[in-house]
Amino acid sequence: MIPNTYVAYFAPEILLTIWAMGLLLAEAFLSLSPRVVAAWALGGLAIAAIITLCLDSTPILFWGGVSKWDGAAKFFHLFFLVVAALVIWMGDEVQEPVPHGGGEFVVLPLFTTAGLMLLASANDFILLFIALELVTISFYILVAYHRRSLVALEAGVKYLILGGLSSAFLVMGVAYIFGLTGCTRFDLIGARLHDQPLPPGVAFGLLLVITGIGFKIAMVPFQSWAPDVYEGAPNSITAFLSVGSKAGGFIILMRVVLGLFNTQAAAAIWIPVLSVGAIASLLLGNLAAIPQRNLKRMLGYSSIGHTGFILVAIVGAATVLTGKVLPFNNDAQTGQTAVMVYLVTYLLATFTAFIVLAVLERRLPGLEIHHLAGLSQRSPLLSAALALSLVSMAGVPPLSGFIAKMMVILVAWNRGLYTLLGFTIFAAVAALYYYLGPIKAMYWSEPLDETPIRVNRVTSAVLIVLIFLLLLTGFWANSMAPLINGATLAQSSASATTTVALVQH
C-alpha cells in the first residue's frame, strides 16, 4: 500500500503533467512519429491508472485540505483515464493524419486528463478554478486543431467565447461565496454555513457558480455552444468533450451542491434551479435532435438531453429532500450511483458511436444521415456498432443505456420527484424517434455505393470490446458493481473518519 501522504494522492496528476511535458520536448527534439508519441502517452496513462488503483478509497483531505480523496474521486480518476486512453488511441489510429506534426494532438489530452483528475478531487474553489481552466484551455486548442479548416476554427472560437464567459461567471460566484464566508475550502465553507440561514450573497454566488458549471455540462440555457462545437471539432475531441468534460462538470457540480451546499436552506435554491435546468435540457435536447440531419450535430443535441437525465439523478441524490421511501434502495446515495452508472454507460455508447463516425468520415462524402444508406451491406461491424450504441443511448433494453435510464427513473420515483419523473419518461420516449433514423438508413435503405468499407484489425477489436461491454452491462448490470460500489462522495462535515493530512514545511 502506498503511504497516505499527499504526493501519493496527487501522483497520477503529477505523473501525467510531467509525462506530457517530457513527451512534448522529446517530440520536438527527437522528431518522433505521432504513433510513437501516442504509444508513450498511452503508457503514461497506464502507469497513472495503476497508481490510482493502488490508492484505497478511504476519505481523506490532503495537501492542506485543498483536495479530497474519496470513493467518487477514485472512480472519476479511473473514468477519466479510460476516456483519455480512448481519445488518444482514436486521435492516433482513426483520425486522419494532422499536418504539421500530430504529436501535440495526442499529448494535449494528457494535460486535459490531469485537469479533469484534479477536478474530481477538488475541495477548494481555487483548485477547482485552476483545474477547470487547465481542462478548458487545452480543449480550446484541441477543438480548433485542424486550423486550416474553417469549421474547426469557428467551433474553437465559439467554445473560446462561451468558455471564457463561463469562467467569468464562476470566478464572480466564488468571489461572493468567499466574501461572505471568508474561506475557499469546501469543508470550511460548509462548517460556516451549517445550520444557518443562507446569506443572500452566498445564494447569489451559488447561482453564478451553477451558471459557470452549467456551461461545462451543456445545461439549458447554457447549451448553445454544444451542437456547433460538437460538429466542428475532430471526432475524438467531440467524444472527449461529450464524455470527459461533461463528467468533469458533473463531479464538480456534485461536490458543490451535494457536498458543500447540502443544507436545507441552500437546497431550497439549487434544487429548483437544477430541476428547471433538467426539464429544459430534457425537452430541448431530445426535441431539437429530431430534425437534425448531421449525425455529430444530432449527437450534440442528444448529449444535452443526457445532461438532463443526469441532472434528475443529482436532484434525486439530495439528502435533504424529503421524499417517499420505497423498499427499493431508498437512500439518497442511489442518486449518486445513478449518476456514475449513467456516465459509464454513456461513455461506452458515445465512444462506440464516435469511433464509427471517425472511420466513416474518411470513407463517406459526409456525416449526414442519408450518407449512411445501406451501410449494413458495406460494413456489418460498423453498422452494428453504430446501431447498438444509438439503441443504448435511446435506452432500449437490454442494452446498458436502459439500466442507466431505469435507475434515473427509479431515483425520481423513490424520491417523490413526480414532475421530473414525467418529463424524464417523456424525453426517453421522444429520444427513441431520432435515434432510429440512422438505424433505418443503415439497414433499410439501398446503398449508393456498394464497395465494402474495410476496418483495420485494432479498430475492429476495440469496437467488438465496446459492443461486448454495452451488452454485458445491459444484460448483467451487476458487472458494473465493483467499479461503482463505494464510489460516493464522502460527507466532510459528518464523517468522523475524515482526517486532514496537513503538510508542514
Binding site: Y140, L153, K158, A168, V171, M172, A175
Partner: protein, 101 residues
C-alpha cells in the same frame, strides 16, 4: 464619505454587467474578448475587496491565479482569433456562418 466594501462591490458589479453586455451585443471578436477580460477583472476586484475587508488573504491569492490563467487563456484565444482572421479575413461574428443548422 468613507469608501466601504459596498462601493467596491458596486464597481465590481457594474464592470461585470458592462462586460456581459459587451459580450452579448458586440459583433467583433476582439471586442467580445476584451469584454470577457473585463468580466474577469470585475471578479478580481470583488475578490480583492472582500479579501481586504475580511482580513483573509485567500482572495488575493486567488486573484493571482485568475490573472495567470487569464493570461494563458488570452494567449490561446488570440492565437485562435488570428488563425481565423488569416483564413476568413474577418473577425465579425456574423460572418461565422459555416456551422448553422
Amino acid at each position: 464619505m468613507d469608501i466601504t466594501l459596498n462601493h467596491y462591490l458596486a464597481v465590481g458589479a457594474i464592470l461585470f454587467v458592462i462586460g456581459l453586455i459587451g459580450v452579448i451585443t458586440r459583433r467583433n471578436l476582439i471586442i467580445i474578448y476584451m469584454s470577457l477580460e473585463m468580466m474577469l477583472q470585475a471578479a478580481n476586484l470583488t475578490l480583492v475587496a472582500f479579501s481586504r475587508f475580511n482580513g483573509s488573504l485567500d482572495g488575493q491569492v486567488f486573484v493571482f491565479f485568475v490573472i495567470t490563467v487569464a493570461a494563458a487563456e488570452v494567449a490561446v484565444g488570440l492565437a485562435l482569433i488570428v488563425a481565423l482572421y488569416r483564413l476568413r479575413q474577418t473577425t465579425q461574428v456574423q460572418d461565422l456562418t459555416s456551422l448553422k443548422f
